[in-house]
Structure formats: C-alpha cells, structure tokens
C-alpha cells in the first residue's frame, strides 16, 4: 500500500523513502483518496474470485501506508464475506505488548467468522531504527511474543506468563479466536535458515512465505523448507509453502511491459531502496548473513530495470499466456501451495491495477487453481 503520489525525485534525492524521508511529502488529502482506492481494490478482489486478500505492516515510510494492518484488516472483515483475510504480518518485536496482537487478531477472527490468516514477522531492519527497539533482541522478543500469543489463544485463562521481555499475571483472552485451535499462522520472510528451521518445526508447521526475491532464491528457500521438514521426519505439504511477488498482466507482452515499466521501476528503485546500515542493523541477522549481503552489495543495492527483473524472476509480467506459462513452470519446479500476487506495486494507478486484477483473475487464476 505505497504512497503512490510520492514525489519520486524527492525519494531519489533522499536516497531512501524509509526512516528519514520528511513527512511533509505526505499529503493527507491525497492519502484519503489512496486509502479508499486501495481498500476498494482489496474488496474488488473478492468479487473477482481471489481466495484471500492480504495486508502488511510497515512504519514511517512512503513504501507502505499500513503502520497498522489491523485497521485495514478490520475494515475488510466487515466489507467482505467470503475471502480469507491475511495479516502478513504483525511485527511482533516492535509491539510493546504481544497480548494486544493476540486480542486484535482474535477480534478480527471472530468478527469475520474465522476468515483470518495470522502472520508474524520481526519487522524489517529500518523499523528498528524508526522504533528504537533493540535489533540485537529482535529474535528473542519475536519468539517470546509468539509463545505468549499462541498460549493466550489456546490455553484456558487466566494463567500467568513469565518471560524475559513480557510478564503478565493474568493471561485471559476475551475474545478467544473463532478458529480451532487458532487461526493459521504464516511466516513471511526474505529467507533465512533460522526462520525456516523454526517455522517448519513439527510443533508449528507454519506456512513459509518467500517475499519479493529472485526466483532462484525462492526455489532455494522453498526447497530448504522441504528438506528441513524431511530432517524433522515429515513431508511438508504444498500448503506450507508460499511465494509473494508482483505480477502484471496486459493484453500482449509488449503492452504489459510498457504499462508496468515505470511503476515497477519506481517500486524497485525508489520505494524498496535503502542503505545497508538501515536494512540490516546489528543483530537483526547473524553476522555471517550480514557479510554475505555486504559481498552482494552492488547487486542488491543498485537499480534494476524491468528487463533485468524479468530475467531474474523478481517480477512476472506479460500477456495472460506468458504469465500463465511462467507460473505453471515455476509451480512444477517448486509446488508452492500459495501464490500471493501484488496486483498493485509502486506507482501503478487505479485503472491499471483493476485491469491487472481482472486479467489475472479471468485469464490466469483458473489455470493455476486447476493445478492445485
């Protein structure tokens, strides 16, 4: 949910739209129109036959206007009646009290009659700069908050919870979630061994969602999930794997690329961009992972054209036939049970977003659903 009206030159000059882009560039009147446009688009997805709509959480950035996905998910819970509503996800370590997350998710689950998919994330590195939360405690806080939320959802209250970061004398959730034992939990990630080991553990078997990565990287991590599950002694189901990426469908390959190009490149080269120190504060990842990113710095932090993105499989774009064939090929290779399509990205305007959604729903989705 980007601030699509952003002055892109201002974003470029600032080097990033995260953390320190002055908020004078946000115009609340334009924001009013954008929020309502995006919510209309999400509601339209139900009419077009999508299985689920998803929202996410990002703070103090033009990249995304949803510091609270709870607000958007709540609005959708009342305006839709069939689709699943996926919160991908709540940034647990950034929240001062995990019980608030447990309560808010439970409310949406009850209001929607059990249509909630809960996602948990740590928040991205930049958000440790904006929120002041210590990134070297990020993993600890995430795991402890997660444990508290799951216990609050599933164990009879009241009971006490004693942790290193959170201490509650009376955990006693009202409301309890609608779904039994609790809403499904998905874990969106840019890929890390620690996350895969944890998400695939037999106690959890959470759906792992690889987000906006080159297709080779997606394939590597989804395979790693399956291999890790085997190591734990079970076969991962396809539904435990997901891929989230931007897709654009036009009438022809040429039209699709022409229409998507400026908006995709704004997304990749303005909205996503940030310096290494902002992306990976100390302790957010292991120092080994940090060093690997430092080595790939030129590739990761430079600009990417739409042509390069298509080459990398960072983006799928073309005629319905091209998109269908690409995705069928990828599916045969990886058998991801969940495909999350960003039908809007960067500065893509409302008319093209709706056209993209319609073509995808009509011309691509049926074939994908038929595959499983």
């Amino acid at each position: 949910m980007p601030y699509a009206d952003l002055d892109l030159e201002a974003g470029r000059r600032n080097g990033t739209v995260w953390v320190k882009l002055p908020n004078k560039y946000f115009d609340p009147e334009k924001g009013h129109k954008l929020y309502n446009r995006y919510l209309d688009e999400l509601e339209y997805a139900e009419a077009l036959g999508f299985d689920a709509v998803s929202v996410n959480e990002h703070h103090q950035t033009a990249y995304g206007l949803m510091p609270s996905p709870i607000v958007t998910a709540s609005a959708l819970a009342r305006k839709t009646s069939r689709v699943k509503i996926a919160i991908l996800g709540s940034a647990l370590p950034l929240r001062s009290h995990p019980l608030m997350v447990a309560e808010e998710h439970a409310m949406i689950d009850v209001i929607s009659g059990g249509r909630l998919i809960s996602g948990f994330v740590r928040g991205i590195g930049a958000e440790y700069h904006t929120f002041g939360v210590n990134p070297t405690f990020s993993h600890d806080r995430f795991h402890e908050a997660h444990d508290l939320i799951i216990r609050a959802w599933t164990e009879p209250g009241p009971f006490p919870f004693q942790g290193r970061h959170y201490n509650v004398q009376y955990v006693n959730l009202w409301p309890r979630p609608y779904q039994k034992p609790h809403p499904p939990v998905w874990i969106p990630s840019q890929g890390s061994k620690e996350t895969i080991d944890w998400a695939s553990h037999p106690d959890r078997r959470y759906t792992y969602l690889q987000t906006f990565s080159p297709v080779k990287v997606v394939a590597r991590y989804l395979k790693q999930y399956r291999d890790t599950a085997k190591g734990y002694g079970y076969e991962a189901r396809d539904s435990q794997l997901g891929w989230s990426l931007p897709i654009y469908v036009g009438k022809t390959d040429e039209e699709a690329r022409r229409e998507a190009k400026p908006h995709f490149e704004a997304f990749r080269n303005v909205f996503v961009k940030m310096p290494l120190e902002m992306l990976l504060p100390p302790g957010y990842t292991s120092r080994e992972s940090l060093k690997n990113v430092m080595k790939a710095k030129a590739q990761m932090f430079g600009d990417v054209t739409i042509e390069q993105a298509l080459e990398l499989g960072l983006f799928v774009c073309g005629s319905p036939e091209t998109v269908r064939k690409n995705l069928e090929g990828y599916w045969r290779e990886m058998r991801f049970g969940n495909l999350l399509v960003s039908c809007q990205f960067g500065t893509l305007p409302g008319d093209l977003t709706r056209k993209n959604m319609e073509l995808f729903a009509r011309e691509v989705m049926p074939a994908l659903k038929a595959m499983g």
Binding site: V19, G132, V133, N134, T136, P275, E277, P281, P282
Partner: protein, 253 residues
Amino acid sequence: MNFSDEFVQVDGCKTHLRRGGSGAPLLYLHGASGAPAILPFMEKLAARFEVLLPEHPGFGLSEEPEWLENIHDLAYFYLDFLKQLDLNGVTLVGGSLGGWIALELAVRDASRIKSLVLVGPAGISASGVQPADTFLMSSEELTRNLFFDQKIAEQRLAAPVTPEAIDLELKNRHTTARLGWEPRMHDPFLPKWLHRIEVPVRIVWGKEDRILPVAFAQEFKRLMPKAELHIVEGAGHLPQAEKPDVFCEIVCK
C-alpha cells in the same frame, strides 16, 4: 614501550588484556570501536602508570558471554575484574562508551578507584542535543566523523582492510548496539546517582566532537559540579588520539 598480551578469565568470560609500563594502576576502558591497537597516548601513559587495557566482553578478541545484555552487566564485570586482579588506587580512564561504563561502575562502588577521567563519555541525555546516529553511518562515514583533523581520518581509511578487521568491526558494532541502541547510548536513571561519585573527576571533551557534541560536557558539569572540565581545541570525539600530549598532561596532572 612493550605491552604484554594475555587473556584473563573473569565472570566466565575469556577477556583480552594488554598491560604496559609500571607505576600506579591505570585502567583504560575503550569506546565503541574497541581497542584494536596500542595508540601513542597509551604509550605515553605507560611512562607514568601501569596501564591495563582490556577489551570489554563482546568486543575485539574477548568472548561474547551469554550474560551480556546491558551496560550494567559491564559495570559489575569491571568491579569483579578490579577485585580479581586486586587493583587499588586505580586511575580509571574511559572514553565514550568506556566513559559510560566507568560512571556506572563508580556510582556502584568506587572503593578501588583513586580518580576518574572521562573522555567524551556517553551515559546521559541532554535536552536539545542528540548523539550522532552512528548506526546509520557506514564505516567510512563514522571514521570521518570521529576526527576533527581529516588527515587522520584519511590515514585510517587508507589502511588495508583485512577480513579479520571486518569481523571485529561487526562484532564491536553488535555489542555496541546491544548496550546502547535504546535508550540511545545513555541510562535515564544514571543522573539520579552521580552524586555518589566522591573521587576526583576530570571530564575531557573535544571541542569539535561530532559524535557527542560538546553540549553534553556542559550537562555533565551541571550534574557533577565538582568535576574539572577540560575542553580540548582542535579535537573531535577522540581527543586522546588527536591531541595525545594535551590529553596525557590532563591525566598525569
């Protein structure tokens, strides 16, 4: 001047310790960048003192103990360190992060401390002024911001970067974040107890400090009125490195 090189085990942490010179003990607590090398000011001090130069747990060649979670852990660690080495009448010198550790130590127990020298210490907040956000700086930006004399910065940046040096830098950054990310490089409760420090205190500050601006020195002076304040002209965040003679004169006086 030769410094000996050894490891001591304190609180279960294998701690890298260098020593040089002879005389009354001087314990130097380094800042966020660690103490990778023996600098000229350390050699000068070793002409007068027995200089002890440990690397804090979590920094340099010292181990990263599980128990290290906040600045108070290091204060207690150094109290145990002083006791284990049975050091008395210690001149305690701390720069930046090390100055903060020295303050946290001294409010708890200054019985082994003779005097305190704080060089651009972190540890407190001051209204209307913020420490520079070193966590958003690249290694190069940080080096430039540390020094007033950019020739020194250039020299440091020209030195070859080894993989080992990168490992140590990432390790030091990690521990610095653990101790000082939030609240940023200070303990909001420390000012309540600074009156407990009754040993003589000298505060040394680079006039051109771009990491902790000199306004922090005035706030320290307000909180510790008996402390001597020395503002060093033509120096940034590391007056001990930029003006070693001036600095050593203040310490030895």
